[in-house]
């Protein structure tokens, strides 16, 4: 078994470079690679393109990378809840490509699966369709969308083993599995790292083939955006 383990987040992100295209798993603040983001913040990086469903909040997640002006372009489906993001967008410092969430998920999936383009009904008749090929199949219109790939993909799992196999928990899975496959170098951080052989092969969500580096994360905050409870 190939051992993918690296010592910590700093070692995992050591060769990330300015101008790189990065993917970050997570939906809102759930399932985001907290440790990798912290390690990236310590590096002198700029002009990054970040592909992530959301852009964090002002003081957490990718929002922290925006504060440090590391990001040139965001590719996301929803970017509310972030005042610094709004300021940089309105001032023209930040470029943003907004795409439908399912199209984002499928473009990333296609990138990892070797499918250069696909047709989807989402966005037909809207500004998302501008400049894109439209074709009719069985009486309905579809848009041609291209794959997305990244130089580095950062994902976060609940458990992982030294072979890079990953298991996610709850709705923290979200974009993480597709992004793991779409990164040239995929860096996985996990809450619990175990030796190869300890995870049940029947229950692996992301096979280790997609993961180049894995490390045991620490000090997870797991912030909650909307804490809703009943009595």
């Amino acid at each position: 078994m190939i051992n993918k383990t690296v010592k910590n987040a700093d070692e995992a992100v050591k060769d990330v470079f300015s101008n790189a295209v990065l993917m970050f798993g997570g939906f809102g603040l759930s399932g985001i690679p907290e440790n990798s983001i912290k390690a990236l913040l310590e590096k002198d990086l700029k002009d990054l393109t970040c592909i992530s469903n959301n852009a964090g909040v002002d003081d957490f997640g990718i929002g922290l990378m925006l504060q440090k002006r590391m990001v040139k372009k965001m590719i996301s489906s929803y970017v509310g809840e972030n005042a610094e993001f709004e300021r940089q967008l309105l001032s023209g410092e930040l470029e943003v490509e907004l795409i439908p969430q399912g199209t984002l998920a499928e473009r990333v999936r296609a990138g990892g699966a070797g499918i250069p383009a696909f047709f989807t009904p989402a966005g037909v008749g809207t500004e998302v369709a501008e400049g894109k090929e439209i074709r009719e199949f069985d009486g309905k219109l579809y848009l041609l969308e291209r794959w997305l790939k990244a130089d580095f993909a950062f994902v976060k799992a609940w458990k992982g083993d030294t072979a890079g196999n990953l298991v996610f928990k709850g709705t923290a899975r979200n974009f993480n599995p597709m992004m793991a496959a779409a990164g040239k170098i995929t860096i996985a951080e996990v809450e619990e790292l175990v030796p190869a052989g300890e995870l049940n092969p029947n229950e692996i969500h992301t096979p280790g083939i997609y993961v180049q580096r894995i490390f045991q994360g620490k000090d997870y905050e797991k912030r909650i955006e909307q804490r809703t409870v009943r009595k």
Binding site: F27, G102, G170, K222, V229
Partner: protein, 220 residues
Amino acid sequence: MLNKDQIAQRIAKEVKNGQYINLGIGIPTLVANYIPDDLEVVLQSENGLLGIGPFPTEDKVDPDLINAGKQTITMTKGSALFSSAESFAMIRGGHVQLTILGAMEVSENGDIANWKIPGKMVKGMGGAMDLVASADNIIVAMQHCSKDGQSKLLKECSLPITGIRCVKKIVTDLAVLDVLPEGGFKLLERAPGVSVEEIQSKTEGKLVVEGEIPEMTFEV
């Protein structure tokens, strides 16, 4: 006029046994409170869950378990968890049978606008474009008029479109209306105390009125 809970309560009557349903943020989320106990339905959350349960009690809050509005939730018995790609595969594939969502405008041919207001900060469309492009049945929950009194049921949407020819039914604070395949809003029911004339005056698009229009009734 209906309040938000009554709009949700009325929409809940459209839910059928055995359906898989996606509820949008706002009034649509409230629909879950009014689905009769004898119906077995499954609520889908596009961030990767089939089987949304009620909000958790304080001791059961889990940051790894949220809905598409980023609220903490629980799971019902028989739930399933999956990735975002799988989630939208089941949406685009037509497996999610009913989508209930809010709107800023609906046109008489069923176009919907609900994601962007020119000149205001654009937050993004999230999953709305995928949902409206795919579900067989799309019901819109919204106020009949905007805050400044403008009709939201229009000949053509003035705001950027989220999806074309997709809305089947609209429940507002004033009325229940079907969007006709040939175009036009067919008035089905009036809110208690609201006249056909008032609905007519507040509907900019083509309103189709045939025969007596009954008043909605609510079981208490």
